[in-house]
Symmetry: C2
Subunit: 217 residues, 2 copies
DNA sequence: CAGTGGTCTAGACCACACG
DNA sequence: GTGTGGTCTAGACCACTGC
């Protein structure tokens, strides 16, 4: 078995994703230690990891809270994503290797196949792998790590508000164009297409979130 | 006194900055616990914080190492900074409030005064405050946190290779133009000027690093 | 198949936030 | 001033690494 703190951080993240812990909720060490049948320290470690991923807020001497994921947070996050995905796509095009090229096109194809089966979870994973392939190809570890963190947060949002299932063909089209720009080593096109792709995802998500917020008032 | 783990993480970071721990060096818990006169857990916690800041690399079951800060890491980091500073400057211009406007212009003025005294440390701090003011004004917490992490890394690099003291007038000019674009709420200009500013810093730093790498071979 | 060193336990401690 | 709950201690445990 992997270390407890890794296991625990995964379980807490899952429990946040399916809403067992609500946004803003206080996470107490003793409670969690009891719940996951372990001692304080692995829990603390796990919470630090989640804190590093931006899923959990931390104040010294006052503990951890589940981070509130609202429209304004998502606007911030997509501002960052928009910028980073564009840079990464550009770099991926410039630095393309045969291996990266294969990885990207097979991830693109995989997404197309999987998304046809309307299995939401598998579609999300495939989408993740596609963007990961570009991240890897960019060779920018710093950017890749940030994107990886953001992906963990996006899982929560997509779970809560639904993934862009109504515009799957649009996503597939975006992926196709982006892939061919990168494979052609056309950095400028790749950057623009990546930015546009994120922009669409952002509009789609924000519309949904605002709809939910409005109807729950 | 603040919690030990905070104190310890500050001390280890300082010790990395002034080269007491070299890049790639293994950081052993027992050693550090002995050095800083505390037990394992606060050290572990401190290292996790530094790991979160990207200063320390971590592999499960195998411990922590001081992250190697080389040219390729800096290229990655500046790719990210370039993108983020531009977004933040744009947003700062769009969302400008009177308070933010004051904060930015007084940070700008402070940098001009302090840098005239050729006190490197104070100049770095003033530069940090200027960029922080823009970060804050952007209202993007996500981006601000990333930039804050990067600043910690840049402190190490500037300590090692020197801050751009030979182009201080250039930096001042950059800051002036950027400030007035933001105060004019000209988002496009602000984004471009911020990007250009980071680009100059990047070229300056990489030239120095490559010079040092070459001469040490 | 040791030894090193990361991980975990149980409980004491003590800072801060409440009433 | 009391109590909740975050922080710290000492040491045992046990997964890897390298002989």
């Amino acid at each position: 078995m992997a270390s407890q703190y890794i296991e625990v951080s995964d379980r807490i993240r899952e429990d946040i994703i399916n809403g067992k812990f609500a946004g803003g909720e206080r996470l107490k060490l003793a409670e969690l230690a009891n719940l996951y049948a372990t001692s304080h320290m692995p829990i603390r470690e796990a919470l630090r990891i989640l804190n590093g991923q931006g899923i959990v807020d931390f104040t010294p001497n006052s503990g951890m809270r589940v981070r509130e994921i609202d429209v304004s947070f998502m606007i911030d996050l997509f501002d960052v994503r928009l910028a980073l995905e564009a840079v990464q796509a550009r770099r991926a095009a410039e630095r393309l290797t045969p291996a990266a090229s294969n990885a990207i096109s097979s991830a693109k194809t995989e997404f197309e196949c999987v998304s046809a089966e309307s299995d939401r979870d598998a579609t999300l994973k495939a989408n993740h792998r596609f963007h990961q392939a570009i991240s890897q190809a960019s060779g920018n570890r710093e950017a890749t790590e940030i994107e990886e963190r953001h992906y963990q947060i996006l899982r929560i949002v997509w779970q809560r508000y639904g993934y862009a299932s109504e515009r799957l063909e649009g996503v597939i089209e975006d992926h196709r164009l982006l892939t061919s720009a990168i494979l052609d080593q056309d950095a400028e096109a790749a950057g623009l297409l990546a930015a546009a792709h994120v922009m669409r995802a952002r509009r789609n998500l924000l519309t949904k979130m605002r709809g939910v917020e409005r109807s729950s008032q």
